[in-house]
């Protein structure tokens, strides 16, 4: 009981501090709430590491989202190159974590969908995709950083890559004629068959577009939700922080889950789509 009281007092003190200090960091844009919100979510070339500290402007026209992409590349490559050692029978620390991610991708995404034989060649690609997306999504949850996957251009680029792979691998495995024949349904009249083939063909595009939009919307909306709760403190009343901060914390926690879940969904669907287009219908 005493411990609970102790924590409750701490939480109340933190909330009061947030309410007292927060107006000092309010954006100059004042009443332009949507502008303030989008300023924190959309791409730009400015980074503010801590409230009140000077704004860092990225050189050579590098955008924050581009910077986040390369930061995640550096982090992932660094983690892999420094922690994975050859011939280690009992991995420790980070190596265990990285191995478990790769095993997760292998056993829960690649092998169940593609099979062991075919999946072995694709494991590196899908593991990289999953780790890349997870890192970008999670980096965006660190205050002062931005989520690159909250930018439609980034998610579209990745979706286009998957779309091109669907075509290239499909045509390479099946041949051009069988690739399109694969879209044609069995046992229907030619008119309906051609119509369905047409729909299936455009389905390939829509699948990729949806893949891109799903990731973008989830990541963008999550951050927007957190910021919206916090902006309410400035818009309504500082005392609204008693409601807004717990909600923001809850949404933030949810965002951690969503960040990993969306990386998983993107990787899983990419794997399914590539497998679907590169395998004859009977063998799927």
């Amino acid at each position: 009981m005493r411990v609970r009281l102790h924590y409750s007092i701490k939480i109340i003190v933190v909330l009061i501090l947030i309410m007292v200090v927060s107006p000092a960091f309010a954006n100059d844009e004042g009443d332009d709430v949507s502008g303030t919100l989008f300023h924190h979510v959309l791409n730009g070339n400015e980074i503010t590491l801590f409230p009140g500290t000077p704004v860092i402007i990225l050189p050579y026209g590098i955008s924050v989202h581009g910077f986040m992409l390369f930061l995640s590349v550096v982090i992932i490559a660094g983690l892999f190159l420094f922690s994975i050692k050859k011939g280690v029978r009992k991995p420790r620390g980070m190596a265990v974590f990285l191995e478990s991610i790769v095993i997760f991708v292998r056993d829960d995404i690649v092998y169940p969908i593609m099979g062991r034989e075919k999946g072995e060649g694709w494991l590196a690609f899908f593991s990289t995709l999953f780790i890349f997306l997870s890192t970008i999504n999670l980096l965006g949850l660190i205050p002062a950083f931005k989520t690159a996957t909250g930018n439609i251009n980034v998610t579209s680029a990745l979706a286009i890559m998957v779309f091109l792979l669907m075509f290239i691998i499909g045509i390479k495995n099946l041949g051009l004629f069988r690739f399109f024949k694969n879209l044609y349904p069995e046992g229907v009249s030619p008119g309906i068959g051609i119509f369905v083939t047409f729909l299936e063909f455009f389905g390939l595009f829509t699948k990729s577009i949806v893949l891109s939009l799903r990731l973008f919307a989830n990541m963008f909306a999550g951050h927007l939700a957190i910021l919206s709760f916090l902006v309410l403190i400035f818009v309504i009343n500082p005392f609204f922080g008693f409601v807004a901060v717990p909600f923001a914390v809850f949404t933030y926690t949810l965002e951690v889950l969503v960040a990993l879940l969306q990386a998983f969904v993107f990787t899983l669907l990419s794997c399914i789509f590539i497998m679907m287009t590169s395998t004859p219908e009977g063998e799927q």
């Binding site: 989008f38 992409l69 490559a77 994975i84 990285l98 191995e99 590196a124 990289t128 995709l129 990745l158």
Partner: protein
């Protein structure tokens, strides 16, 4: 709208970033990592196989052990039965031998006893005869005073 503003440069940077990362991981990290995982999985699979083999062998040994125990028990029962039969036979033989010996001893004793009795009887007869003779002689000496009686008596004694 700012939200959906096209930025081909960022898209190209995304491909480049992903390409660089994929190349680094594919070239330097994944061969080592996947190799380690495979090696460990092989080791685990081998250990599991070994454990299965040991378990199988253990089951076989248990079966063999049970069979040996069963066989030993059967053999022991057989040996026990055989021994019991042999001991019964030996007991019977010994009993017969003892009976025979006892009978022999009885016969011998009986012989000895009859011989001794005969000897005793003979001795007794001699003693009695001597006694009778002596007694008769004394009677004759005391009772037959005449010469004629004495002679008759002596004659009678001689005939005995």
């Amino acid at each position: 709208m700012e939200l959906f503003k096209l930025d081909p440069g960022l898209a190209i940077w995304t491909w480049i970033a992903f390409g660089i990362l994929f190349f680094i991981l594919w070239k330097f990290a994944f061969p080592v990592l996947i190799g380690n995982i495979k090696e460990r999985e092989k080791l685990i699979a081998k250990s599991v196989d070994d454990a299965d083999e040991i378990e199988k062998r253990l089951k076989e040994i248990n079966i063999e052990y049970a069979e040996i125990i069963k066989k030993a028990r059967t053999e022991a029962d057989g040996i026990l039965l055989e021994t019991r039969k042999e001991s019964d036979l030996l007991k019977r033989k010994l009993l017969l031998k003892a009976e025979e010996e006892a009978a022999d001893i009885v016969i011998q004793i009986k012989d000895k006893m009859s011989k001794e009795r005969e000897a005793l009887l003979l001795a007794l007869q001699g003693e009695i005869a001597d006694f009778v003779c002596n007694t008769s002689a004394q009677i004759v000496e005391t009772s037959f005073t005449s010469e004629k009686d004495h002679d008759w008596a002596m004659e009678l004694v001689k005939t005995l």
